[in-house]
Amino acid sequence: MRVSFTVNGRRHEADDVWEGESLLFVLRERLGLPGSKNACEQGECGSCTVRLDGEVVCACLVAAGQAQGREVRTVEGLADGAGPPGGLAPIQQAFVDAGAVQCGFCTPGLLVTADALLERQPSPSDADIREALSGNLCRCTGYEKILDAVRLAAARSAAGAAPTAPGPEAPPAPRSEPEPGE
């Protein structure tokens, strides 16, 4: 079958797509967008996270046919509209600045998830961030710096700073989290 959809603002058509093919496979192998990573193929790790009509999904669990006529955003398109070409989206800049990148394999999925979180909730609590990011595994495991990066992006956004302008350098102090059973 033929699948037509928009990826990062560009129309794409993929021909001879087998019904069982995942959106992840089509992005990586047919459209030449390998930024989204294949790490578990069953929706456990979040490395392939993309937006589908704004919704955060695991591209490995979406059949390519389900993307027909819809809009997909991947890590490659995260900076689109965020400033001059070649610039980084605020969340990307925050990941670099906070040292939230290690091996980098979980990074694309985490960026898409974190970007969606901040769009939905511009000043999330630490508990909100941890919950939102818990579908994205990082084996390196850089959760603390990733948390810092999301806090940093949120703080910069609250301060109205452009991503490249001087903003808060250190992430704000952690806020206390309630603990189940306490």
């Binding site: 390998p34 790490a39 456990e44 995260l78 990941f95 579908g135 595994l137 390196c140 495991t141």
Partner: protein
């Protein structure tokens, strides 16, 4: 290595600065290319067919249904696969024999136009085999348990000293099989170009991959290029060449086009190594003042027929850890019909330190002593195993500095006393240690006539920040900024270098980079500071620098502190606070170092509480092969966590004065957590992980709740 044959890197910026990762931008934009991200024109895809039994012989490979799939190209199996040379690693002799050594071993490989087609083909291949009963269970009475040469050590008279001790601890600890599960599954994209083999591989050391492929395909090493530019973690699983890269190269040869093979997650435990389960008996004999007189650590573990020389060397840290005149260590290993175990982050050290540091906590309780004071009291003057001095140690300083930061002074040692609602609260401590070693490496430095430098070395950045730190070492040696040079790593076309493993990458590569840049500086000086047209190039090798006799024991140390809350209704333990204080020489980049150490500690937390696997006795492999059943810590499992390091100066290490930090962070974490669980609940966790069902049962059995 005498510690005096090298000049030191000038200490100061950019070395020691938190320079942001040079590859950060490529990684956040999705433009960093990993092994499976390369798709040469005409690339076909491969999918492995795993052995359906744990032991036996393949009697027939039925290909017809698979070859009828649209897009089918080939099904390779032992009966038609290209013959391979010997690479001195039997796990790499893929499809060479009908014998099945373990469940999951690759017995056929489907190759097709597309990935879905290859997968459909693999499902359609029918393997007929003659199974034989496998030997899968490790018990202390296993008849094939042997003690290999070098796997035991004895000093003094342990049995007599232990028998005569006032206080005795005799306990058995167990760790289940644990899986590395780097986020990037092992993948390779292979291509034959004329007589040359070019491979993109997810490996921690591509020189070893090149050597193995050259031996297997009977090529000269320079006919093979291996690229591992970006690698999505490894933790030891990518430390040696693995079967996938051989299969990809073989398939590319068979179908005469490029082939990409990314292992499915579920095959990683069977094909890429894991931390073998250990049964560990620790005996400590001490006086009532907590002075350890006798220490014994005995470990039983297993390996596979394909890796006969492997063992989890869990007694190694015990040999050098605490003073005691009477000592015994012994490792026994049985060859079982199981997938090959291999390196997993801090192999041996991480396993052994769980047992020893748990036993030390038990001894502290038995002697009614503070566990930090107990460790301080047993601090050795020299390495008790070798009699050599430590190049530096500072374990006690780490313990004391950590105690101050953690608020240890206020701790009431009595167990099961602190209750907050449904939660029992407790804290625990354990030591960390890991060898600080160095391996010969080469490197090349080039000065451009128009300004600027290029530093080349086949180091691998598996997420550690090696690319960035090596640029810092080069820049500091040359007296320039990081932005005035280019660093090129991750390809066998570059000067040969050892793997990213054993926490010795930065020390080994950095030494070579420093040497190359130092000699380049001298060459530039000879030209009165003017780089001639055509530039200046220096290539160095550190083999001779490292060749002299060793006089010191070189190890990093640390102390980890955990606070846990255990739910009395569910038995769930959660780590509220985790603190690590380390002595690891000079920290070359605090930003990347912090991530390395925190990452190790979180993996240790995960080992303590959630990670567990089973060698299934009916099935012959691990049922917990995916990330749904093998639980690695997620963001929500981590709360307050912090890491600090001492300003340790050790001039006997390498030109940077650094010790490796990739593995130190995971060593001791599990014991700190389970010691805290004992303090919280009174229950001693001797079998990892501390899962709710077992903890709840133990609390009830002991009348704690």
């Amino acid at each position: 290595m005498t510690g005096t044959t090298f000049g030191a890197v000038p200490w100061g910026p950019p070395l020691g600065e938190p320079v942001p990762r040079l590859d950060g931008r490529a990684k956040v934009t999705g433009s960093a290319r990993y092994a499976a991200d390369h798709t040469p024109a005409g690339c076909a895809h491969a999918w492995p067919v795993p052995a359906p039994v744990a032991k036996g012989t393949v009697t027939a490979v039925h290909r017809a249904a698979a070859m009828a799939e649209p897009g089918a190209l080939s099904v390779l199996a032992h009966d038609d696969a290209p013959r391979l040379g010997d690479a001195d690693d039997r796990t790499l002799a893929v499809l060479q024999s009908p014998r099945i050594a373990h469940r999951g071993q690759v017995v056929a490989l489907a190759v097709a136009e597309t990935l879905p087609a290859a997968r459909a083909m693999a499902a359609a291949v029918r393997i007929e085999c003659a199974p034989v009963p496998p030997d899968l269970e490790l018990t202390p009475e296993h008849p094939r348990l042997v003690t290999p040469e070098g796997a035991e050590s004895a000093q003094g008279d342990f049995p007599a000293a232990f028998h005569g001790a006032q206080v005795r601890i005799d306990a058995v600890y167990s760790i289940p099989p644990l899986h590395n599960h780097p986020m990037e599954p092992h993948a390779a994209t292979a291509q034959w170009l004329g007589g040359r083999l070019v491979v993109f591989d997810s490996s921690q050391g591509s020189n070893a991959v090149r050597d193995a492929l050259a031996a297997l395909f009977e090529l000269e090493p320079d006919q093979v290029s291996v690229v591992s530019e970006h690698v999505g973690g490894g933790f030891g699983a990518k430390g040696t060449p693995r079967p996938h890269v051989v299969l990809a190269a073989m398939a590319a040869m068979a179908v005469n086009r490029p082939v990409k093979l990314a292992l499915p997650r579920g095959l990683l435990p069977a094909l890429t190594g894991y931390r073998a389960s250990t049964l560990q008996r620790v005996r400590l004999g001490a006086d009532t003042e907590g002075r350890v007189r006798a220490i014994a650590h005995e470990v039983d573990t297993y390996t596979s027929p394909l890796s006969p020389d492997w063992r989890e060397r869990a007694t190694q840290p015990t040999r050098s850890l605490y003073a005691a005149p009477h000592r015994l260590t012994r490792e026994r290993v049985a060859p079982l019909d199981v997938p090959s175990p291999s390196w997993m982050r801090a192999p041996g050290e991480c396993s052994g330190m769980f047992a020893v540091e748990s036993a030390m906590d038990e001894l502290a309780v038995a002697c009614a002593m503070d566990p930090i004071e107990l460790r301080a009291r047993n601090e050795p003057d020299v390495d008790p195993h070798t009699g050599r001095p430590f190049s530096s140690r500072h374990l006690v300083e780490c313990l004391r500095a950590g105690a101050d930061r953690f608020g240890w002074a206020d701790r009431d040692p009595a167990p099961a006393m602190r209750r907050q609602g449904r939660l029992l609260i407790g804290s625990g401590v354990a030591a960390s240690t890991y060898p600080a070693e160095v391996i010969p490496s080469s490197a090349r430095a080039h000065a451009n006539p128009g300004g600027g430098f290029l530093v080349e070395i086949n180091a691998t950045d598996i997420g550690t920040g090696a690319r960035t730190v090596l640029a810092q070492i080069a820049a500091s040696t040359l007296g320039i900024g990081v932005d005035e040079l280019e660093i090129d790593i991750g390809r066998t076309d570059l000067p040969r270098a050892p793997l990213a493993g054993g926490s010795c990458g930065t020390a080994s590569w950095g030494w070579a980079v420093h040497k190359a840049c130092g000699e380049l500086s001298r060459r530039i000086d000879e030209h009165q500071g003017a780089v001639p047209a055509g530039g200046l190039t220096v290539t160095v090798d550190t083999t001779e620098d490292l060749a002299t006799d060793d006089q010191y024991t070189r190890r990093s140390f640390g102390a980890q502190f955990a606070e846990v809350a255990v739910d009395v209704d569910t038995g769930e333990a959660r780590v509220r606070r985790l603190l690590g204080v380390f002595a690891a020489g000079r920290i070359l980049n605090p930003r990347t170092a912090r991530s390395q150490l925190l990452g190790g500690m979180i993996m240790g937390l995960s080992m303590a509480l959630t990670e567990t696997s089973t060698l299934d006795l009916a099935f012959g492999d691990h049922p917990e092969r995916d990330l749904a059943s093998y639980h690695v810590a997620s963001c929500a499992d981590v709360r307050e966590i912090d890491v600090h390091w001492l300003a340790e100066e050790d001039s006997r290490l390498n030109p940077m004065g650094s010790k490796g930090i990739g593995e130190l962070g995971i060593v001791g974490t599990a014991a700190a957590v389970t010691n805290a669980i004992h303090h919280a609940t009174g229950v001693r966790v001797r079998d990892l992980p501390a899962q709710p069902d077992a903890l709840l049962e133990a609390m009830i059995a002991q009348g704690r709740i």
